[in-house]
Structures are given as structure tokens and as C-alpha cells.
Symmetry: D2
Subunit: 338 residues, 4 copies
Amino acid sequence: MMVVVMQQEASLHEVSAVLRMVEAEGLTPRISNSSGRTSIGVINATPELRPELFAALPGVEEVTGLKRPFKLASREFCPQDTLVHVRHVVIGAERVCLMAGPCSVETEEQTQAAAEAVLADGAQILRGGAYKPRSSPYSFQGLAVKGLEILARVRERTGLPVVTEVIAPELVPLVADYADMLQIGARNMQNFALLEAAGQCNKPVLLKRGLMASIEELLMSAEYLLANGNSQVVLCERGIRTFETYTRNTLDINAVPLLKQLTHLPVIVDPSHATGKRDLVAATSRAAIAAGADGLIVEVHHDPDHAWSDGAQSLAPQQFQAMIPGLRRIADAVDRSL
Amino acid sequence: MMVVVMQQEASLHEVSAVLRMVEAEGLTPRISNSSGRTSIGVINATPELRPELFAALPGVEEVTGLKRPFKLASREFCPQDTLVHVRHVVIGAERVCLMAGPCSVETEEQTQAAAEAVLADGAQILRGGAYKPRSSPYSFQGLAVKGLEILARVRERTGLPVVTEVIAPELVPLVADYADMLQIGARNMQNFALLEAAGQCNKPVLLKRGLMASIEELLMSAEYLLANGNSQVVLCERGIRTFETYTRNTLDINAVPLLKQLTHLPVIVDPSHATGKRDLVAATSRAAIAAGADGLIVEVHHDPDHAWSDGAQSLAPQQFQAMIPGLRRIADAVDRSL
Amino acid sequence: MMVVVMQQEASLHEVSAVLRMVEAEGLTPRISNSSGRTSIGVINATPELRPELFAALPGVEEVTGLKRPFKLASREFCPQDTLVHVRHVVIGAERVCLMAGPCSVETEEQTQAAAEAVLADGAQILRGGAYKPRSSPYSFQGLAVKGLEILARVRERTGLPVVTEVIAPELVPLVADYADMLQIGARNMQNFALLEAAGQCNKPVLLKRGLMASIEELLMSAEYLLANGNSQVVLCERGIRTFETYTRNTLDINAVPLLKQLTHLPVIVDPSHATGKRDLVAATSRAAIAAGADGLIVEVHHDPDHAWSDGAQSLAPQQFQAMIPGLRRIADAVDRSL
Amino acid sequence: MMVVVMQQEASLHEVSAVLRMVEAEGLTPRISNSSGRTSIGVINATPELRPELFAALPGVEEVTGLKRPFKLASREFCPQDTLVHVRHVVIGAERVCLMAGPCSVETEEQTQAAAEAVLADGAQILRGGAYKPRSSPYSFQGLAVKGLEILARVRERTGLPVVTEVIAPELVPLVADYADMLQIGARNMQNFALLEAAGQCNKPVLLKRGLMASIEELLMSAEYLLANGNSQVVLCERGIRTFETYTRNTLDINAVPLLKQLTHLPVIVDPSHATGKRDLVAATSRAAIAAGADGLIVEVHHDPDHAWSDGAQSLAPQQFQAMIPGLRRIADAVDRSL
């Protein structure tokens, strides 16, 4: 990707001239405004496209390349933090965003109960799966549309925006109709058809890191979303697969500060999947905030021992409540709120 | 899953009575015929369903459960090897099946050249990607329908059946129209919507192991295909992700004999992806056959250094040709042909 | 292992009677005092040894087994936190213990400079390698005895106790002569001859987790130290090897709260090795303390770009200094000090 | 490392002149003779040592460097295969070397029984552990000297040379007194003090790859042995640790042809540890020979179900016998014998 960096004082007219030039070459420009300076990314610039073409235009400061394979997602291209808006909730700003709720939407009562509990404890977004990707074809696969409807009604009653998973490209319009934020799950992180569909939709996306995916691959998948026009993307570290068997996954805490360096997108942590053990959620949640995470997504169920999925890693409401003051103290300690 | 095992000499009438009883319970029976004995699998049997219901029927030998989470895919359920038919080619029988061809379909000439070369050296199936899942949105993504058309024309001219990848559920009917066998790639091994669509189509499926998927997860994904009605499934070990950096992936050779024990489905190996290095393809192909693989899928390109993807692991036709006699000798040594 | 749990009010006389009985069976008793209650572990109890033998003695409450393969190291055997004393420094109590210093002892000036810098910023223990296990026989292997002498002189001048690595059983007495705490490095975590030698020496031991070792294996290696008589053991999570290549290792933050549950031994974190990148040390150090670590061991060098080893992950003194206030705030937030 | 390559027709006198020049610089020369050409390696050559110094000498063809971090172990330095001699047995030549025997030496009868069985089936070397590195301090640790004595007596009676593990530097002279080949186990692959001691002893060494060691690290550990003067080194791939749980380890079959490219040292495979399952030993042994391994080391026990260690992966004599004809056919197919 070639990046045309405009001078601080470049006029709108000068920026437009660059955009027209890019389009005249049959290419699509991508605009970033960071700290009052405009950059124009030119993707798929062929080797024949000479930088001099742009360098000579008025208002242009310099024309550069980007070293990393991710471009629009890179901190280099957009130095300023991206804020992601899920209804009235802002992710990536001073307040650490707490998303919580059941693994699966099971019944309206269960979802309502979880929503009320987590709302009371400061959660800003309700999570809950209507479509569940399950290893076994014989496991509960989610309530589908009925689950989406439940989520929508619970949102109406509680005011909590809803994030829920979408598992196939053709379901994107449907899920986007009900949800406030689309989740792309770990197993679908490299489902490129799904990424393209979600990239073309106008809802923010929560992109979870695959359990087998490198940090670079996660950013490349974000790049799919951005290159398809959706810049409202939140990344989620949810544990990677290693040789360790005492925990379900290994929370890659290094990824949090590293991602914050490499990209301008918000980064959250899922301590429930990253540990697989209820007992470890509070401590790893504190660690995530201390390391710089912009949010958490936590599984909470009113009766974990009877949850239809992920019971072992779900918190009961009182356990969720009990960990909040500790998280708040850590948030304070890194000059944030919760 | 509950399995109703019929006596060797059970009549068709007796088998039918069991099937009717299963359906009367609102469940779907799955039939397996192995060594002249019929078994009927009853999936999603609730705890309330009592084995005695079936045990008392005439012709029933015993009613058992299965220990592993994969049922229809298990050797326990179907002791006899499944043969998969791709046009006139049989996979899983005495002859080791050689699939070969370019990573991507680039042009008609390139595909034709590769097909002719591999045909001359004993390949039975042509591989080639029309839809390419790529980590980067800026990489070549395949020729799509145009690629499928090229593959179909090359098949007409060479007689080689074609296996090609499908990357989204809504593409299944289109790809099935052109291809003789659908490939589900490593990154989509747990794309359950895709597995369901492919399970409901009437073409054989080549299911590749995810690069960080366990053997059990691979078999569970096969179970999705089988439970959706498609029993023509070939499994492919294509290397897993480890800490080793000298090779692109680590070929899990243990998986070959282990899968042959655990399942009745044919098992092939992809030495190109499993090593990522052209130099290692011949030796690991020999190892795969020696370990009991039913086939190989190898990347061959007429000009690897200019391949649009995977050049480093593609063989030139003369390299492919050079390794064949060695493979044949190994096949002989395990009482198979090539 | 069989554990004889005494009644709260058991007399010294009653405890002695149990000890004599154990010895009469030709076995070695291990005593733990936790919350005012004495337990006596009987290791290598053969199946023939009947619990009734002890259960009948006066003052005995119950005779139990332990489920985990680690016994003396388990929280079950010793519910109370072990405090490890390195001269005047206590590890495992309220104050988070900061160990810092250069990777290798290079010169007296360099070591003294690092020691003064880290002392000024609140470090309690000086780290520095005199014996360096290096992948290459051609790399700098440490100053050996000369390095130990430097460490001893720097300790005299600064008052900082010294932790340094020992790499062979026969070096244990020598290193123990100079050092206040012996480090067993990641590559030697399963060097059982070394563990036995260190277990028989009277200096506290810092046991680092192997980059390939499971949490259970780490605890089993600690068990070697304890079973050989040394109960002054600190465990160190220093990152494990995974497929991720952007970082040198993956800090397994889950291990911190999990180890605190499983064992009574103090747990510290090495953010330098766990990340391999200077830039990530501050954030992961905060995470470690937030997750419950009892200490940190950090590489600090007065001139990292010219360090003889591990320069990329070493902090300059001013970088070390800059992160301390942030760590202190996190320590406060978990009711500890630094 | 600087390498001085002599002309094909260089005289002994000319070679000596180069050696004297190296020593005059205070450095140690390493000589390699491959295909009738002599090369002289100069290790630890400081940047000040100018190639011109040697290039000007008579008989010198060129002075080069080596790219890889391993030098003496590299194929580049020594193009010709190294043959390792264990008494009358040659490893690395046309005949695939079969090493077999029990995991642990338990009793004289058990060892003798295993030795006789494997000898009858074509094994050339007897394996058996007298010192056992065990994760638990409470597990059987081997018979130590008593085990070495048993091995020596069994050798006398059967004529089979003996390979056995050494686990500490100070034990090297003792074990070397009894054994014909020293084994350095996976957990000690980076026990550098042990490598140095074994490098200075005059017995051939079997170096096993660590369960999470990269191929480069294995070669660097071999380099320790070579740099300390012992060039009789055999490398052993014995499975690496991955996320897969159906097998104890993952046999990295890629490593076999890759090591044969990178180094001149013989490479063998341990199918017993690499799978952890008796059922998989025959198939993976065939794969190893097909991939180019120079030998196998297999655990055989006269009564695996009562073995004191590693029973699940040990073959009974009749199972060992049953797999031999299959191995022989594979060996034939790659122009080798067994």
C-alpha cells in the first residue's frame, strides 16, 4: 500500500485533488484523519504506480509505503486510537467496557435474569449466543432467530446494547437487523467470506482471535473488515491453544500491549474462554485491564451448573458482582474507569 | 448415540421393523452395513429412550452405545473401510490415490499443462483452486467461476476428475456443479455452516484437518458431513502448527495410522502444505504411504518460481515425475499399488 | 503419599509418636504446620502400609491421601502460604518482591551500575548470571567464578541479596557459597540431578518454568526440591513456547492464579523472557501483579544495546525507573505494596 | 566460523602450514575431510582475523564463512555423511540400524530376555535405562550402577553393544566405562554441562531432540558435542510436544529429511516415545525408514503390562518380531537393508 501523507495545513481542495488522481488510476483511496493530518491510502498500487505522481501535487508532504502486511489496521497508517460506537457505548476511550452475559441464549427468563444482573454491576453491553458453533453436530446449536428475538426484547427492557455471533455470510443481514454489534468467533476468524460480508455491513464487529491464529493473522482478518469498508472493529484476545492442559486455553496477555502498539483498533479480552475455569476469571480480568485492555467480555449465567454450554467457565451473578470492585481498582490504577 | 446391532441372519423385514420403531420415536435412523451385518444408529436418543424397546425386537442381537463423541465416523459403528468414489476413481481401496495439480488455477494453459504432466505420471485426480482463502485481502483470491470453467474444460480434455475448494455455504451448489469432489480447507474445518451445506450435497468431500485442530475435532467435523447425509468423505492430514519454524507446518504422521484405527473413512496426506518446502515432498510422501495413507494430494506447477501462490512448496513436473518410482516402490512394500 | 492430620490440640508428644511410627516403618516423615495444625506426610508409602496403623494413635484426626502427583508442594498438604527468606527479604508476603539486574555479569562496573540503579528504584534482590546456558557453544558463557565474586562484592557495597543461576549439580556448593538464592533456569527445570543437589543445599531456590513444561511438571520439579529437604522454593513463570512469532515466548498469565491455588509456594513472573521485547515489559509486569504474582524478575542493563546477552528485552535504568510508579499503583490496587 | 577450503590436490605440507597459522593466532583448527578435499574450520575467529591471511597460503582454494549458527554439524562444512561406530555396528551407512530393548533395566532376567528377543529379530544395539529421569521424585529412578552392570553382563552374553542414558556430567566417566554409546535424553538436550562432558568423552553419543526443541536447537546441541571434540554423534527425533492429546507426542517426520539435508550426522527415530502408543509403532517405524532415517530405537519389554515405566508404548517381543518383515520391505524400497 502506498500512503500519501498530506501537510498539516493541506486544504480540502488539495486532498480532493489527490483522491481524484487515485481514482483516475482506477484505484480506491482510503482516508485516515489522525491528529489533524490527513493520510490517503492507495491499496493494490501496482509497481508501475510511481510515487512521484502524487509527491508533486500541492499539499502533499510525503509518499510512503507500509512495512507490515496489514495496512488500514496499522498504527502506522492511523496513529490515533479508533473509537468504536455500539449505540451509546464507546469502546476504546477512557472507560473500560464491560460486556457480559450468558454463553447461549437459552430462554427469555434466563437471558433477562443475566442481563439484569450484569447491568446492575456495571456491564455496558449484553453478550449472548443465538447461533452457536459447536464441535459436535449433536450439541445444542443455539435458538437461532428465536434467540435473536429474545435478545432484542431484553435490550428493549434493559437498555443494554447486544453483541451476538454470526456464523455464516448469508446470516449477516439477519443478525445485523437484531444485534448492535456482530461477533465473529474464534473458529471463523479466517472465514473470509464471512469477513467480507461483515465488512460490508454497517454494524460494528467484535473479531475474536482464532485459537490457532498469530497476532499478524488476527490483524490481517481485521484488514478484511476494514478493506471492505467497515472500520468499526474491536479485536478480542480469547486465549490460544498450547500444550498446557490444566487450562482450556492460554491467555496471551502479551498480545494486549502488542496489539495496542501495532493497531489503532480497540482490544478487549475474554477471560472466560481464555481460562476455561471460573476460578481464574477475576485474576485474569484484572491482568487484562492492567495490561491495557479496552474491555472485557465475560460469561455470566444465573445457574452455571445447568448452563447449556460453557458452564465450567461461566460466573454466577454473585461471582461476577464480587469481582467488580477489584476490577475498578485496577482500572483506576491505570487512569481509567469501569 | 444408541446403536442397534442386527443378527447376521436378520431379515430385511426385521431391519424395517427397527427402522419404523426409531421413526415412531421421532428420531432419524442411520444404517451401516459392514461385513454382512446391519447396524442402525439412533442419533440424539434422549436418556428416556430405553434400549429394551429395541432389544426385544426379532433379529436384534444387541443394543449398545458408542464411547467416542464421533459416532457415524467411528470404526466402532462401521468396521469396514468406506470407499469413496470420485467418478471412476476409488479412494480407500488397494490403489493409493494420487491427486496433483497447481495450488491456484491461474490460466487455462497453466492448468492444462499441469494436468497433462501429472496425468502422465499416474495422478488420478486433478487439484486446483478457483476460490482461494488468503490471509490478506490484497492477495490473489482465485479466478472464481472462471476458474471452475477452466477446470471443467481441462477435465473434458484429460479425463481427470477435479477436486477444488469451496469457501462459503452459498457457493456449494455452484462448485458442486463443476467439481467432482469438494474440498473443505484447513481454515474452514470448523465452518459448521459450510459443513452442513456440503453434507447436504451429493458430491464427495475432501475434508482437510485444521492447522490447529485435534484429531478428535477433525472427526467431529467429518461427523457433521455424515450426520447431514453425506458419507463420501475423505480426511486429509496437511500438517499442524507447532513451534518449529524451519518448516511451514509439522506433518503429524501419527495421525495416519491413528485415523485408520478410529474411523472407516479414507485418509490422505498433503505433503506440500505439511512441509512448505519442495525439497521435503518426496521423502514425506514416501513416509505417508508407508504409514498407511490412502492417497496424496500434491502441488505441482509448470513454473513454481512464478506461481501466484505456494510456489515454494510446489513441485515442477520433472520433480513430480522423479519422485513417482520411489513412491511406487513404497506402495509395493505395503502391498498396494500407485 | 499418605497424610496423617493431627487434631488442632494434639500435643508434641502425640506428634512424636506418629513420627516414630513412620520411622519404624523405614519411611521418612515430612512435617507441615499450617494454621496451627500439624500434618505428617509419609512418602513412598507402599500399598501394604495400612492407614489404620496411624488412625488409632492418640491425637490423630484423620489419615488421607492426596490426589495430585505433587504432594509436599500442594496447597492441600500445606494450606498456608510459604514465606521464602532471602537474607532480610521475604517473598510471598504482602510486599511484591522486585528482583532486577543484568542478564549476564559482564564487568564489575556494569554490575555495580545496574545494582545501584535498581536499588534506587525499589528492587530488593539483584539478579545477574555468572553461568549462562547458551544455545550456541560459541556464545558468551558467563564469567563463572569471576562473575560470582563480582556479585558478592556488589552485594557488599549495595546490601542487595543476590540470585544467580547454577547450571550443574557439582557447581551447587560453589554457587551457594556466593549467592543468597540459587536460580534453576528454564532449560534445567527437568535436570533432576541438579534439582536433587539444590534440594540438599541450604539456600532458597528460584525455580523457573521450562519453556516446554506444563504447570504440573513445574510443580513436580518443585516437589524434587521439597522432597530433598529444601522447602524454600519460589516458582517463576517466564513464558512458554507457542506458535506465536511476534514475541519470544507467551506469558502464561493463567499460570499465576492457578499456581496460587495449587501450591503454597510463592510465584513470581519474568516479564523480560516472557515477552522478549523491552516495550512489553511494563504492561506485562502490571498484569502479573494484578493477577497475584508475589514478585517480578526483570532484566535491567545500563546500556541494553551493548549487552552481551538479551539486550532486546533488557530495560535501561530510566525505563525501569519509569515503570515503577505504575507497578506501585497496581500493587496498591490488590492490597499489596512494592 | 571461518572455513579454509584446501585445493583437491593440496599436500599434507600445505595443510600443516594452515594449521600452524591458525594455532599461531591462538585459535583451534577443526579438520574435515570430505570427498578427498580438506577443510579447516577456525572457530571463534574474531572480526580482526582477516581471511587474506590464509587465502594467500599455497594450496588454499578459498576462505569462506558459514551462514547457519551450527558450523561443525553442518552439511556445508562436511558434505559427506558421518559414520558412527558403536563397536562393530556402523550407523549412517546402508544398513538401517535397529536399537531395541526395555525402557528401564529392571532385573537381569528381564534385560536378558528382551536382549535375546530383539537380537533374534535383527536388532544391532541394546537399549535400556539404568538412570531414569522421571517427572516425579517418587517414581522409579533406575537401578543406577547395578543397572549398568546388568547391561554389561547381557552384552557379554549376547554380543549386543549397549546404549544407555547419562543424566549428569559427573556420571559421564562411569557410564562411559560400561556403555558403548551414551544417550542424552530429551529433557537434557540443553543441559550444556552434560553436553560438554559427553563431548569430551571418547564414546559415541545418541542425542535426543527435546520435546519442545526446534531443529536448529537440536543441531546447536550437537554442535556442543562436536566443538568439545566428539564427532561420533547420532541425532534422534523422538516426537515433539503439541496440542494433540490422542498421542503422547507428535512425531515430526519432516525433521528426518530436513536434518539429512542440514547435517552430515546420522538421524534415527524413536517411534515409541513419538507416539506413546504401542499400536502406532509399526506404522511410524515404516514411515521413518521411508523418510530416510538411518535407524530406529524401539522399546521392547517381555511383559509390557508390568513394565516399571513406559508400558503403554512398549512392544512385546512377538509384536516387535511381527513388524520386522514390514520394515525390511520398506528398507529394500529405499535401497537399504535392515
